[in-house]
């Protein structure tokens, strides 16, 4: 009796996937990315408004808040409102827990004055640059679930 040849025997081995061209592409891409890679991420903090410029609104009487930070050499920040020359609060910038308190305070002010985004920064000569940057970080923006929420992001340095 005739028996049909088994299909299994006729099955050819599947040709292996030819990855050479993909490999070439990935290799070149790797070289390109390696040559242009910047492993330290560098960013900037902008002070978009000129130094010495103080808020010169046409009708300053309408303003309710002109936020000023007085960063002192003894580790304290005095938060003032220049409209009524009032002291709003005093915090320490040397302690991270106290800096957190300061952040909560700034957020509270922002909720009261949502349209306001300017802050005048006065600093003592002896304040370290890193401390100044840490204070500016708190005042400028906040990260909420990966999103950046702007607080008082227009920084004006008082040059007096």
């Amino acid at each position: 009796m005739y028996k049909a040849p088994s299909a299994r025997r006729r099955k050819k081995k599947a040709a292996p996937l030819n990855l050479v061209s993909v490999l070439d592409m990935v290799f070149i891409l790797n070289f390109f990315l390696l040559s242009s890679a910047q492993f330290i991420k560098i960013f900037e903090i902008g002070s978009d408004l000129p130094i010495y410029q103080l808020t010169t609104d046409d009708n300053p009487k309408d303003k309710e808040l002109e936020l000023e930070l007085d960063i002192r050499g003894d580790g304290k920040i005095l938060v003032k409102n220049n409209v009524n020359q009032g002291l709003l609060g005093s915090f320490s910038y040397l302690d991270s827990a106290k800096l957190d308190e300061f952040k909560q305070f700034i957020k509270k002010i922002k909720t009261q004055y949502e349209d306001e985004n300017q802050v005048v920064v006065k600093s003592a000569s002896s304040v370290l640059y890193q401390d100044l940057v840490s204070v500016l970080d708190v005042v400028r923006e906040e990260r909420v679930e990966g999103q950046t929420v702007k607080l008082f992001n227009q920084i004006i340095f008082d040059g007096k």
Partner: protein, 166 residues
């Protein structure tokens, strides 16, 4: 007889197809590298060179650096403008009138040059007003203030503090 068979088998063995090179593991490595590099790729248009003796402050800022004049100042008060060493403050760590004048003059010249280029080039970005300040994190505010003061006297209006992510 045996010899003949050996020779026959040898030619058969040689006729067999060579096994393809196994590239899968290499492909895996390269793909992982590619993903890592793409994730670390920054789209900043400026490549800044930071001298080894400058430790930049850390910040949560995520704004990419834009083109501008670079002023660098190290902890030992050496100052560079656009990566060229310009001056060093003396042991007194104070800004003298001569030093201020030297820096202001240099910044004015660069600004003039950039303005000329901008006048002649269409669609040129305005970078003649921007100063990128790369300063050591342990420097005192007095130096930052001096640099901003001198720069604004030379006509610059925008100051960018260069920072790194923590």
């Amino acid at each position: 007889m045996l010899k003949k068979r050996f020779i026959r088998q040898r030619t058969r063995r040689a006729q067999k197809e060579t096994e393809p090179l196994q590239l899968n593991s290499l492909m895996d490595i390269l793909t992982i590298m590619l993903v890592f590099l793409i994730m670390n790729y920054t789209i900043s248009e400026v490549e800044l060179s930071i001298p080894k003796n400058i430790k930049i402050p850390e910040s949560i800022s995520t704004s990419y650096v834009k083109k501008g004049i670079t002023v660098q100042m190290s902890d030992d008060l050496e100052l560079w403008v656009n990566n060229s060493p310009l001056l060093q403050l003396g042991k007194a760590r104070k800004w003298t009138v001569e030093l201020r004048g030297q820096l202001e003059q240099e910044l004015r010249q660069i600004r003039k040059r950039l303005e000329n280029i901008r006048m002649r080039t269409l669609d040129a970005q305005d970078q003649a007003n921007v100063i990128n300040l790369i300063m050591d994190k342990n420097l005192e505010y007095t130096h930052l203030k001096e640099l901003m003061d001198i720069s604004s006297s030379a006509g610059y209006t925008e100051f960018k503090f260069i920072v790194i992510e923590p």
